[in-house]
Amino acid sequence: MGTAEAPAADAEAAPVVRFVDVTAESGIEYVLPSGTDSTYPMPAVMGGGLAGFDADGDGDLDLYIIAPAPGGNRFYLQQEGGVFTDATSAAGLEGDGMGCAVGDLDNDGDLDLYLTRVGPDRLFLNDGEGVFADRSEAWNAAVPGWSSSAALVDYDRDGYLDLYVARYVAFDPARVCSQHGGRRDFCGPTEFEGLSDVLLHNLGGTGFEDVSVAAGITTVEDAGLGVVAADFDHDGEVDIYVANDADPNNLWIHQGGGRFLDDGVLQGSAFNRWGNSEAGMGIAVGDADLDLDLDLFVTHLITETNTYYRNLMLPGFEDATIDTDLGAASLDLTGFGTAFFDADNDGDLDLAVANGAVKRRPSALAAPGAATAPFPFWSDYVEPNLLLLNEDGRFVDASAQAPWTELGLSRALVPADLDGDGDLDLVIADLDGTPRLLRNLTIDPGADTNATTSNWLRIRAFDSRLRRDAIGARITVQTPDGARLVHALPPGSYLSAGAATAHLGLGAADTVQGFEVVWPDGLAEHFPGAAANQVVELIRGEGRIR
């Protein structure tokens, strides 16, 4: 049995990755309305969704910001120069909601949008130019109850994206909750019954059929918040992992034939090291330990650490939070959105976590009397976000500088190369705050630093028969430093959606030797190598890069 003494903090040696908040220059001044009031409505503290996707097909990322308050959603189109303009009404995307999933549901070559809500969900089909039509009823997509996150997954490999919708609790607005000697506060999930999740089977791009019962996923009614779909055990069938709030997480292993079995307990990903179910919120997924399988990271409530589940491919996972130094930084924070992403393009995955309490903190972080702009209601709830850098498998808290020290009530978080410079920026949705656009300065066209040690590739796996990205494709990249695994997956996180494009940091390597792609239907295909610092498109069946 080994001993892992915590390394002494060494501020001098702490790695630095610089981000700068460019929201003010982006043209986005909108404040995401939570809708909170003196009745402490629970959806107001849980919402704050986000999608970063190319809605109008012009090659840059647009933003859809989702608010729990009525009429609070906003859609922004990115224009040249990185400025965003409000196109909510023109796009037909008014309304409210919790989160979303984005993908091409009718295989017509553009990205459609599924909106989760406290109430019937909504489906918007894209006309290809960023104008959306509500097809919720026609597609049988109006899932009732409180839905949270959703994941696109072609579980039956028929070429059409199906939809797994995580649902939260049977919320009762009349329920009154309190703490701190009886002071009123938001209710937690244990006050209500959990809801079973929903699996919608895509009927050839014309509508959905609810196959939840047949799939076996209605056997549990848990408070679902985060969801990712991927083939965790490399058996060729896509699996689904759901982070539940205070309930055990589900690891739905696809048995084939559309039947799923929850094997989370035996595979070690339902509970933490201590055998406790935690307040699962957001999920990050990626090969954090570079052993060519997918690991999981789940964010949690204050007094719980966030939890890192290392994939051991037994099949199964182990809670390796302590071994990777991922516990201490999160113990005093409530985590929501999160993503594995290579912040410094050095070839391994770092972590970002969006935080904000759901009940009054035992110890307020905002200084007494200080302005807690823009909404003083949250002064006992605001928290800073986290940037954790991967240093040889251990994570170092690199959040000591702005913008990470800024307090807010953050929820959804999406990594995306907003400015197309080759490093991953971040967008974070804040309740009753302006969405934060954090620009990564690892690659700064205005400076001549880092250029030789921050190489990168953006990899798109495209299936031309389906006219869309091959969501779920597993891509092994041969680099000078060894094989690296990436997936064509949306980033997971919490109430959020993003492009299913893989980003790979290459450090000093300026080429890769080749790509092995396992397409979602199991076909394996080899592609030749490529030079760094470009977007490569791996086109199915052609064995060549576009």
Binding site: G2, A24, G181, R273, W274, G275, G316, A402
Partner: protein, 447 residues
């Protein structure tokens, strides 16, 4: 693009970070000594009256006895009981300084600091254990803090020491099992965790970790059985730690009474649960959840009249409180008030259209009253819902069969066959031995 000065509030100077504050409390006690008259006062706006009064009384005690460490400690306990953590830490710190020979103050302080930083809590646990090395719950918590800090060998030694001090301490055995599992020794993990589970069968954490250990050891079948059984266990795990429990016993807000009552219910201590709930109702009689919990406790204790009264009160206060309408409907049915039961069951179905147990109740009462149309209608809904839990499914099969027999008696063989067909479907789906009998009966009817 230029970096704009942020308008957002920030954590500010490092000294404001909670972990840093905790470290300062631990490492620089003299620097945080409070002036005797400076009593930490939590924000009490919105707090319940009993809480405000209790804290005010303890504050007055402190002002009169500001050098009394135990008075500070008692105040700290009351603050912690009502989740005023910052203020409780300050009070415990003062208590420890003024009464350095008292075990409980560094121990309680360590446990609170531990919630924010396991590493920062270690010196305080050590200080406490130097005063009382034989208090096993503290040694277990110390071991857990070591484990959380990544000091696995030291944690292993402390768990072993705790198990020697108190061989019935399930958490000590669980700690040994957890460390063995993390180290890849699945067989040792099974051994230690099995012992923990024997000592605390109600603890879900031990059960699910044992299930995982069995799977790692290659016995998935055994692991699955344990995992399945663990589904019925509550998510809250209790531990025998009289000193920490004495803190939570001080909470005077209505919600804390409910929490303590639930803990007693888990252990089958119905009388203690009843007392807590009555006390909670005395504090705040407007809380429907307290009345409903009391109704459940009284029913379990064999007091149907008291249970009915408490359930009625809960329903009056919040008719849509989850579970209260079905509970009251069943209670009324058992007392023979069929009209009341039917009304409540229909109301319960309005709130939750998928509640098969309420469908059965409606069917039963409707049948009793000769309302065949409603009986058949609601039984059909129940059949469509395909209840999975065995008692409800068996109840539905029985009702369908009884209604089928009644229809036969009224010379309605086709309608009767329909009821038997549904009963048979459900029985076959459940692979029930009743299926054979139902099949024979259906064949008889068809002949």
């Amino acid at each position: 693009m230029n970096q704009e000065p942020s308008s957002r509030p920030t954590v500010g100077a490092p000294a404001c970070h909670p972990a840093f504050v905790a470290a300062v409390f631990v490492l620089l006690p003299a620097a945080t000594t409070l002036p005797a008259q400076q009593v930490p006062a939590p924000p009490l706006d919105g707090a319940e009256r009993a809480v405000r009064q209790r804290l005010a009384s303890l504050q007055a005690d402190l002002r009169a006895n500001s050098r009394n460490g135990d008075a500070w400690g008692r105040y700290g306990m009351a603050l912690e009981a009502h989740t005023f953590t910052d203020e409780a830490i300050a009070a415990y710190r003062q208590a420890h300084e003024l009464s350095p020979r008292t075990f409980r103050w560094p121990y309680l302080l360590a446990a609170l600091i531990d919630e924010r930083s396991a590493a920062d809590s270690l010196p305080l646990y050590r200080a406490a254990l130097a005063l009382d090395p034989d208090y096993a719950p503290a040694r277990v918590r110390f071991a857990e803090a070591l484990e959380r800090s990544g000091q696995f060998d030291a944690a292993n030694q402390e768990y072993a020491q705790a198990a020697r001090l108190d061989s019935a301490n399930a958490h000590a055995h669980a700690g040994l099992g957890r460390l063995a599992l993390a180290a890849g020794d699945a067989d040792a993990a099974v051994r230690h965790l099995s012992r923990a589970r024997e000592l605390a069968a109600e603890n879900r954490s031990f059960a699910v970790t044992l299930a995982q250990a069995y799977a790692r050891a290659g016995n998935r079948e055994r692991g699955q059985r344990i995992a399945d059984a663990a589904r019925s266990l509550g998510r809250i795990n209790y531990r025998n730690d009289p000193i920490r429990s004495s803190v939570h016993d001080l909470a005077l807000d209505a919600r804390s009474y409910l929490r303590r009552a639930n803990a007693h219910r888990v252990h089958g201590e119905l009388d203690l649960a009843r007392r807590e709930l009555r006390a909670g109702i005395d504090v705040d009689a407007s809380r429907p959840e307290l009345h409903f919990a009391l109704a459940e406790v009284l029913a379990a204790a064999g007091n149907p009249a008291g249970s009915l009264a408490a359930a009625r009160r809960a329903y009056e206060l919040h008719p849509e409180l989850e579970g209260v309408a079905p509970f009251l409907a069943r209670a009324l049915f058992q007392t023979g008030d069929l009209s009341g039961a039917l009304d409540l069951a229909e109301e319960a179905l309005r709130l939750n259209a998928g509640d098969v147990s309420m469908m059965l109740l409606v069917a039963l009462v409707s049948a009793e009253r000769g309302d065949v149309v409603r009986t058949v209608e609601v039984l059909d809904h129940a059949y469509q819902a395909r209840p999975q839990d065995p008692p409800t499914r068996e109840g539905l099969i029985r009702l369908l069969t009884n209604v089928g027999e009644a229809m036969l008696g009224s010379d309605l063989p086709d309608a009767a066959a329909g009821q038997f067909r549904k009963a048979l479907d459900l029985a076959e789906e459940a692979e029930s031995p009743e299926a054979a009998g139902l099949r024979r009966r259906l064949a008889q009817i068809r002949r």
